[in-house]
Symmetry: C2
Subunit: 338 residues, 2 copies
């Protein structure tokens, strides 16, 4: 920077002010500085900047990868957030520690390395929230805890998604519908979305006046198979299932086919929050209900950055994203006479 200043014939502080924009610089000076920076290939040192300004322009994305396994949906959240952050001049640090590794998190929050933190895979009772609050680092959630209060978040509108999925099936004549969600352990550990979706589903089914059989389900092929068996045992007249369990869905469909049911002629399947890529990987391709994950990631990053930059004082930013129904080949009219 001193070299740039010398070349431009100004003081180092003027160069700095030109860079930060913290005070007006005459057009002529600004141009000389600009030219000098280009000539010398100058790059502002991030550490010196961070040391003085207490701002790193780095945000951390907390994705506890063991929480729910890897899935394309999470990847879309992460890359949506990352994209937007880079557009806004922020770097993204990927943090994959488990939810209960709180010392590591406290270290991250207090080191000053990051200006803010984006929480993914939020639990209803999430111990990370307390840590972040006490360390006074800015943060926003992708998802919600049990009582977000004044906290910023972006989340799926599960109520609306449940309604959309139920209505889709009701319109096609289905009257006995199953809801297969995540495994009991996940629900007990209190991942909020599983619970919010289940409750929304019950309300939607009640309002539509149809029978809903809700089941937990292990997140793998065999789990899906078992859930299908349990479902038909509980209500033999079931003609459709709504699933919130990406890994189990292929098992559900395989079990249906083995029982001689053709999808979608004899049995319909709708998945909540399965990204397009995964939906197209399944046979038949999956009808889905859910919001655009990348857009949610972008919104979460924007919320966090506004909070960091002090443009978001007072009122919290709390957004719910409506889901969209994409009808593919796994759902259709209810079979007659079953």
């Amino acid at each position: 920077m001193v070299d740039v200043a010398r070349r431009a014939g100004v003081s180092p502080s003027t160069v700095s002010y030109a860079l930060t924009g913290a005070r007006p610089i005459s057009e002529a000076t600004r141009e000389r500085i600009q030219q000098a920076m280009v000539d010398m290939g100058y790059r502002r040192n991030v550490f010196a900047r961070g040391l003085k300004s207490k701002r790193s322009h780095i945000i951390a994305v907390l994705f506890p990868k063991d929480e729910r396994g890897m899935n394309l949906g999470s990847m879309e959240y992460i890359f949506g957030a990352s994209d937007h952050a880079q557009n806004r001049g922020y770097h993204v640090l990927l943090w994959t520690s488990r939810v209960d590794e709180l010392d590591d998190l406290a270290g991250l929050a207090q080191q000053g390395l990051v200006d803010g933190v984006l929480l993914m895979e939020v639990r209803l009772e999430d111990p990370r929230i307390e840590v972040l609050k006490t360390s006074e680092v800015a943060f926003a959630m992708l998802g919600q805890n049990v009582d977000p209060g004044e906290l910023d978040y972006v989340d799926t509108n599960f109520d609306q998604c449940a309604r959309l999925a139920v209505e889709h099936l009701v319109q096609q004549g289905h009257r006995n519908v199953g809801f297969v969600h995540q495994d009991a352990a996940t629900i007990e550990s209190g991942r909020g979305n599983a619970i919010r979706l289940r409750d929304g589903m019950r309300r939607a089914a009640q309002d539509a006046g149809i029978a809903l059989t809700a089941l937990t389900c292990q997140s793998h092929l065999a789990g899906g198979r078992q859930a299908f068996a349990e479902l038909l045992a509980a209500d033999p007249r079931t003609t459709a299932v709504i699933a919130f369990n990406e890994q189990a869905v292929p098992g559900i469909m395989a079990a249906a086919v083995e029982r001689g049911l053709r999808i979608p002629l004899d049995f319909s399947v709708v998945s909540i929050d399965v990204p397009e890529q995964a939906a197209l990987m399944m046979t038949p391709t999956m009808t889905t209900v859910g919001p655009c994950a990348a857009a949610m990631g972008r919104a979460a990053a924007e919320t966090l950055i506004r909070r960091i930059e002090g443009q978001q004082l007072g009122t919290p930013s709390q957004k719910l994203f409506d889901g969209e129904l994409v009808t593919r080949s796994s759902s259709g009219p209810a079979p007659v006479g079953r």
Copy 2:
């Protein structure tokens, strides 16, 4: 740090030396310092540290997400690398700019923010390599360019994978096999792995004395359907296909089924480098050949860190990972009499 020093009754420099381990500290002093740090909840400031030491303990993972779309395999590389980096005391910066956004990359490399860079989605002629070389930042590749020379890399052993896939099918009696790889544009843009795999496949087929029909294929459902049609047109006796195109495989299988072929009774499918999660999402579950992506990610991070820390001088670290065959439900004995 001065507060810690005061509390421990030593000079700040002693605290610093205790932290860096750059010179011997008496046991008693070290313990007092340790205690003081714990008492005060001290966290070393990353920026001050980076400013003096020119080391950030941050590595960047360059994943140009538009290159090949999102896929679970890349996610495993990224998280494998991230995991290992965190274990080794490094943070991971996620960088999703396109391959041709070289100014941004030069900025990153010269800012001093990162100690090293991990390149993913490496092309045969990759413009990023020149940028990184001139900016003198340490880097390693997950994949290879056309002539890695003295560069560090970790890559799949495509020759061995091709051989394994071909042998699996030959052992089951298949004599006419198709190879469906990526779309023409991708191959022309010079993603190395597509080309290396195709060449390995040709050699393996030749050595096994079987007929191989190699085709390019658009990376989506319709592309897979079309590839299947082209394949049977080119060689009507084809009884199996090896695919290197995650998004197209469901299309291939759907087309086969529509033609009245049962999988695997009448037609076998093997996929290269499809992660377990995706393999289990398909119906029937997919037989795959490929190395453990997470292990490759970890190895790449380790290679980079050794290079950064100067433990890897002179000879480059170049590793190929062998694939494993996981037989699932999409492949079986060749049908008799076709």
